[in-house]
């Protein structure tokens, strides 16, 4: 066990998979000599050479389509988007080719696309987005969003092992801010299984990514007021762990769904709708959603702060639910 940052855990996990399996290679803009915009692949090219750590042209469709082809030929490609926002340029390759190929043709497409995502540091409308909701609507894809260093390492291994296209959302705001104990040896964390981040009795929060910590702080605040909050960290949104969510909600009978992405049509809607449908008789209050308002992510600090759900927003929402 070592204490690692979230970023180190991803880096270590990825390096470990590359050492273990020669089929794994990484490709992306500036991942080689530079080590990636966030330095997740720092030192990789020295260790694995330029044909397993490939500096790609500025061309996301070629990167993702290239991964699909390489995967069909037996490789285990891991692409990096420089920022998750730029995956919009590879939308067609993911949604049209990678997602549908196994259903149509019976050929698995085991690719991983790493997506540094999320806001909180004035990245502005194009360096702060959380595109997981858009992809979580696409059958054939998987979408993973770890919140802890240990999950990040275990999920990158699972993502690479998985025979399907996996989008691996890494929250930039966690990269260097979040540290945690990470086992030294290799392990996997199953895709589709939630993690109980905090046990509680009065209200359940269903969330993932950086919002796990926002929820935690809010829960800490409410503890003083005698409100006990349970936090379910989904860890992946496609597939998402419906049984774990329903179990928690059946226990607390109140649910708050929280995400950093914008509200309308965000993946929180899927979770809230499912809870409301399947735990209808168990609910003592409506399922609430807290999310960003329907706008691009603004650049200027006060606007961005007003945009991204804050601890106080969550605390207020939880309190209202507890008192419902």
């Amino acid at each position: 066990m070592a204490e690692l940052t979230y970023l180190q855990a991803i880096s270590d996990g990825l390096r470990g998979e590359m050492r273990r399996d020669k089929r794994v290679f990484v490709i992306g803009e500036d991942v080689g000599v530079y080590g990636g915009a966030f330095k997740v692949t720092l030192g990789f090219q020295e260790e694995f050479g330029p044909w397993r750590v490939i500096d790609a042209p500025l061309a996301e469709a070629a990167i993702v389509g290239g991964c699909t082809g390489a995967a069909l030929m037996g490789m285990r490609p891991v692409a990096e988007m420089q920022f998750s926002d730029f995956v919009s340029c590879a939308w067609d390759q993911l949604v049209t080719v990678a997602a549908k190929q196994h259903y149509r043709a019976g050929t698995p497409v085991p690719i991983v696309v790493r997506l540094p995502s999320g806001g909180g540091f004035s990245g502005g409308p194009f360096h702060s987005q959380n595109p997981e909701s858009s992809f979580a609507h696409v059958p054939g894809l998987k979408c993973v969003c770890p919140a802890t260093p240990a999950d990040a390492k275990g999920l990158i291994a699972s993502a690479i092992e998985d025979p399907n296209p996996v989008l691996f959302f890494e929250h930039k705001h966690l990269y260097r801010r979040i540290k945690g104990e990470v086992p030294d040896e290799r392990y996997t964390v199953p895709i589709g299984k939630a993690r109980l981040h905090r046990e509680g009795d009065d209200v359940s929060v269903i969330t993932w990514g950086a919002m796990v910590y926002t929820a935690s702080e809010a829960a800490d605040q409410l503890e003083g007021e005698g409100i006990s909050v349970e936090i379910v960290d989904l860890r992946s949104v496609l597939p998402w762990d419906k049984p774990a969510v329903l179990e928690s909600v059946r226990k607390t009978s109140k649910a708050l769904v929280l995400h950093e992405d914008t509200h309308t049509g965000g993946f929180g809607a899927e979770i809230a709708a499912t809870i409301a449908e399947e735990a209808f008789e168990d609910l003592d209050a409506p399922v609430r959603r807290i999310s960003a308002p329907d706008a691009p992510v603004p650049f200027s600090p006060p606007l961005e702060k007003a945009f991204i759900p804050q601890v106080e927003d969550v605390a207020r929402g939880l309190k209202a639910l507890a008192e419902y």
């Binding site: 290679f25 044909w51 397993r52 490939i54 790609a56 042209p57 061309a59 469709a61 070629a62 993702v64 389509g65 290239g66 991964c67 699909t68 082809g69 390489a70 995967a71 069909l72 030929m73 037996g74 490789m75 490609p77 067609d92 390759q93 049209t96 080719v97 549908k100 190929q101 196994h102 259903y103 149509r104 043709a105 019976g106 050929t107 698995p108 497409v109 085991p110 059958p139 054939g140 998987k142 092992e161 025979p163 399907n164």
Partner: protein, 347 residues
């Protein structure tokens, strides 16, 4: 200003032998041309009989281009042919009954009824199933070549696109990436002069699509797509060059789409004279004459091949019609692959 090399027609038998084809190979090519056209003609009939749901596309006029290139591929090579390239599937060994089964949405087609038309392929034959979105398979073909390069294998990937699809960004990203890394990939442009109803001058403003190869640092070649031997020779050259580490080539096969975009389209926008002119250059008839002139194809041989193909296709139609429609219990099978699927028979 044209930049691409314009390939000569293939003349003598000796030239063909240099290219590695003996008489038997030549008759095999002829047979594959007949099967290719036969499959699509019979598909058309099935369509008119209401046995094929949805729409229906053929590659009439493009048989020589498809068969020529398919024949030049090595056994370990891979490719992602398109909706005019039935011949590639045939050459690589796709059994016609499976094509018919796919046309008709039957359970035993390569897509098990999930997709129609030529949106299918068998990976065990080294072919990758196309998606509709053109030319989204080009980056995928480049990715295959990347895998070969990473593993230092002497294999080549082929990617097809139409002259219409040349306008899309994927064409560019694929060729540019392949050019910078000199990957073992050959790009084939099926230039059949129309993209649905759109003529070439609205799709590109250069003389030949193949002229673009220089913009990516590799060679472009324009070849008469009705000359199966010229296509074969150019494809062979390009494939072997790629195999030897010489990087990509772009081969443009010039043809005319001899029918509408799909069965519902009467192609009123194509001048009749153009059809008449190109009908004289029918690729199969042209090759038949070449065979008679150069390798003394006999009436007997001709009849035998024709009869054989006819029988094959009749059998194929029968077998395909015997295949059931997919059971609705299979609707959700395979949306996600299981780990075991990674070990399924592969190329």
């Amino acid at each position: 200003m044209a930049i691409a090399r314009e390939a000569d027609p293939v003349g003598s038998l000796s030239e063909v032998k240099d290219a590695g084809l003996d008489r038997e190979d030549l008759l095999g090519i002829y047979r594959n041309l007949l099967i290719t056209r036969g499959v699509e003609e019979r598909g058309h009939i099935l369509y008119k009989q209401g046995k094929i749901p949805g729409s229906f596309y053929t590659g009439r006029g493009n048989e020589a281009a498809a068969v020529g290139i398919g024949t030049a591929m090595g056994p370990e090579d891979v490719g992602a042919p398109l909706h005019r390239d039935m011949g590639v599937h045939i050459v690589r060994g796709m059994e016609p009954w499976r094509v018919f089964a796919n046309y008709m949405g039957r359970a035993d087609g390569p897509t098990k009824g999930r997709d129609g038309n030529v949106h299918m392929a068998d990976i065990r034959l080294g072919l990758i199933s196309m998606v509709s979105h053109l030319p989204a398979m080009l980056p995928v073909a480049v990715g295959c070549a990347l895998a070969f390069r990473i593993r230092d294998e002497r294999r080549v990937a082929l990617g097809w696109f139409g002259e219409g699809a040349s306008a899309r960004g994927d064409t560019h990203e694929a060729m540019n990436f392949a050019g910078t890394r000199r990957l073992p990939v050959v790009f084939i442009c099926d230039n059949n002069q129309w993209a649905y109803s759109t003529p070439t001058h609205l799709e590109y403003a250069v003389e030949h699509i193949a002229d673009r190869a220089q913009a990516y640092g590799f060679e472009g070649v324009v070849v008469d797509g009705t000359d199966v031997l010229a296509v074969y020779r150019e494809a062979k050259r390009a494939i072997e060059k790629a195999r030897e580490g010489g990087g990509p080539t772009l081969i443009e096969c010039l043809t005319l789409r001899m029918e509408g975009h799909a069965v519902h389209d009467d192609a009123f926008y194509v001048p009749r004279e153009l059809f008449e002119e190109w009908a004289k250059r029918d690729p199969i008839e042209r090759f038949r004459e070449w065979l008679r002139d150069n390798v003394s194809l006999t009436d007997g041989e001709e009849e035998e091949i024709a009869a054989d193909v006819k029988h094959l296709l009749a059998e194929a139609m029968r077998r395909a019609e015997e295949s059931p429609l997919p059971d609705t219990s299979t609707l959700l099978d395979g949306v996600y692959a299981d780990p075991a699927d990674l070990h399924a028979p592969h190329h």
